[in-house]
């Protein structure tokens, strides 16, 4: 259960980290060792954007188990976490590959059968839970979820039972205005995995476009693994320090992985690999279990490395995704 840590415990954990300016470049395999079975893993990006798929791929191959995984919105990777056996407990606000592909059959299969948990919070609640964690406070107040069964399900008084494994939110009367407010508990993930366009060897990351909840997630987590399209010099970072969105002091590992979000997108570089995502949806449509296992075999276990994974998705797909992705700069 992801309830807030006592402040002294949070401070102890942070104090114990090596937060110094040092080279953190390593391989996917080495970075995967920073994730322990049973950890709460937070995933950067949102839906089909900046999903750190290369890192997830490495975690699947490293056979991690019993992770609790949180993300603002879960897409294809949510299915993968369930199907590969990495997690039986996902915390998010919305979960399916994407509206155009309909409701995820894999998600349905696991959750309707009771084999896995899908702990649902409103999207703003997810954001404020990470933000509370980033700020070092046990909760933040907010004004939505009130009156709904989404709140009932995480506080025990809504339609359907609250799962005791879910975190609880609490209402309070505002001491200033007398109004009813909701307090949502902080999330301080054990590990965050975030993909960025570029960062230096120390982990100073400069993100373009949409940042989603990544900045708060990096500040909230106890360890941060960055995968990046490129590792640039610290000199380059220092020329535009106001563009640094994630600071080195939060980062524990830097892994250079071009096309590290495939088949999802990385802002300004490539759009989603739509044909591949169509194919995935088709593979899992009829028999979600068998289809997902087949997909994992072909794209997660068999490839000899990340380039082999990409080559199985296909060169034409990659070139097309890159053309569409860079077109945003053409205006």
């Amino acid at each position: 259960m992801t309830m807030p840590l006592a402040y002294s415990e949070l401070r102890q954990r942070t104090k114990a980290r090596d937060r110094s300016l040092r080279d953190k470049v390593m391989s996917l395999e080495a970075a995967a060792k920073l994730v322990q079975d049973g950890d709460h893993l937070a995933v950067g990006g949102c839906t089909a954007s900046r999903t750190p798929f290369a890192m997830i791929w490495a975690l699947v191959r490293a056979q991690k188990r019993d992770l609790t995984v949180s993300r603002s919105i879960m897409s294809t990777e949510g299915d993968i976490f369930y199907a590969a056996g990495l997690s039986r407990h996902l915390i998010t606000s919305w979960f399916s590959q994407g509206i155009v592909w309909g409701v995820s059959k894999v998600m349905r299969d696991y959750t309707e059968s009771g084999r896995a948990r899908f702990e649902e919070w409103s999207h703003m609640a997810m954001g404020l839970r990470y933000r509370a964690g980033a700020m070092g406070v046990p909760f933040l107040p907010m004004r939505s979820m009130l009156g709904s069964d989404v709140l009932g399900r995480v506080s025990g008084n809504g339609a359907g039972p609250a799962d005791p494994a879910f975190a609880a939110a609490k209402t309070m009367e505002c001491p200033f205005t007398g109004e009813t407010l909701l307090l949502v508990p902080a999330l301080n993930p054990d590990v965050a995995i975030i993909h960025v366009q570029r960062c230096d060897a120390y982990g100073n990351a400069q993100l373009d476009g949409l940042t989603f909840m990544d900045i708060d997630i990096a500040m909230a987590a106890n360890r941060v693994i960055l995968t990046t399209e490129r590792v640039v010099s610290n000199e380059q970072i220092r020329r535009q320090p106001d563009q640094t969105k994630i600071g080195f002091f939060t980062v524990d590992a830097v892994v250079e992985v071009p096309f590290g979000c495939a088949p999802h997108e990385c802002y300004g570089l490539y759009e989603p690999f739509y044909s591949h995502m169509d194919m995935y949806a088709q593979m899992t449509a009829r028999d979600p279990e068998a289809g997902a296992q087949d997909y994992l075999e072909r794209f997660y276990h068999e490839p000899k490395d990340w380039a082999d994974y990409l080559s199985r998705i296909g060169m034409a797909e990659l070139i097309d995704a890159q053309r569409r992705g860079s077109a945003i700069h053409d205006d």
């Binding site: 949102c46 839906t47 089909a48 954007s49 603002s72 919105i73 998010t92 606000s93 919305w94 979960f95 399916s96 509206i99 155009v100 309909g102 409701v103 998600m107 349905r108 959750t111 309707e112 009771g114 899908f118 649902e120 919070w121 409103s122 999207h123 703003m124 609640a125 954001g127 404020l128 990470y130 004004r143 939505s144 979820m145 009130l146 009156g147 709904s148 069964d149 989404v150 399900r153 809504g158 339609a159 359907g160 039972p161 109004e179 909701l182 476009g209 949409l210 940042t211 989603f212 909840m213 990544d214 900045i215 708060d216 997108e265 802002y267 300004g268 989603p272 992705g325 945003i328 205006d331």
Partner: protein, 272 residues
């Protein structure tokens, strides 16, 4: 991502299409919804019909309409033929005025900068409560739907327009699960729960346009689409839906409105 999730079963026969074959039910929804948006407003739009309707309004009567996407996008220009697959990818950001984090764009709702929230829905009840989480008993659901996304936040904090197909299994006496609050149990129960702002404004379907009683907060018909009878709309609603005897009939979609929609979505992703 707002709750535009279709129920997991084939849609029934399209009533409006039968009556007026010149446009699809989705096109009718988009046109009727677009007309509800006003110049100068700020609208928080989901993908699909809401986005199409918002762009249509921009291109007709509301050029100064500001669109917000949940991914953190403020005031974008979406390109014809390049509709985004969700509100969280780079296609949504094209020529936007501003990009912010997801948390910030949702906090704009809470701060009060958003006039209208605009989404689809899987299931709605008499008091405008929306369900996009569970069909059946949540403890043992028949269908686990994708969930709230920003739907709960939007419905809790903004005046709402909901666009959806009008079917008995979608318009139910009581939703299986309140994902996004309407007026809860009616009357002042919404404000009592800590939601003094926002609330259901309009429900637009392929059969008509619905509003909510000022006091009881129960859904009521405001207008019927061309060729739709009071009997037909009641027959497609799972609760007692009042239809005033003098309910006006909406103007059918114009050629201009339809041509703009078809240019925006040439592949008919959202308007088939």
């Amino acid at each position: 991502m707002t709750t535009d999730t279709a129920l997991d079963a084939p849609a029934p026969a399209d009533l409006s299409r039968a009556a007026v074959p010149a446009y699809t039910a989705s096109e009718l929804l988009a046109v009727m919804s677009a007309r509800l948006l006003k110049e100068g407003q700020t609208v928080f739009a989901g993908v699909g019909i809401p986005l199409l309707a918002a762009i249509l309004a921009q291109k007709t009567h509301a050029p100064g309409l500001t669109i917000l996407f949940e991914g953190g996008v403020i005031g974008p220009f979406v390109e014809a033929g390049k509709l985004p697959p969700s509100t969280n990818e780079q296609r949504c950001t094209r020529r936007a005025n501003m990009l912010v984090s997801i948390t910030e764009v949702l906090l704009m709702l809470q701060r009060g900068y958003v006039d209208v929230g605009f989404m689809g829905g899987a299931q709605i009840d008499r008091f405008g409560n929306l369900n996009s989480s569970f069909i059946g008993d949540p403890a043992r659901p028949k269908i686990r739907l994708p969930g709230t996304g920003g739907g709960n936040d939007i419905a809790s904090l903004a005046d709402m327009i909901v666009a959806m197909k009008h079917e008995k299994r979608r318009f139910v006496e009581k939703v299986d699960f309140i994902t996004s609050p309407g007026f809860l149990d009616g009357g002042d129960t919404r404000a009592q729960a800590g939601l003094p702002a926002g609330g259901m404004f309009r429900v637009v379907t392929d059969l008509g346009i619905m509003g909510f009683d000022a006091v009881t907060k129960a859904m009521t018909v405001l207008a019927l689409h061309p060729g739709v009878t009071a009997q037909a709309i009641k027959a497609n609603t799972g609760f007692d839906l009042p239809v005033p005897a003098d309910a006006p009939v909406t103007e059918p979609p114009t050629e201009l409105e339809l041509s703009i929609l078809r240019e925006l979505d040439p592949a008919r992703l959202y308007t088939a």
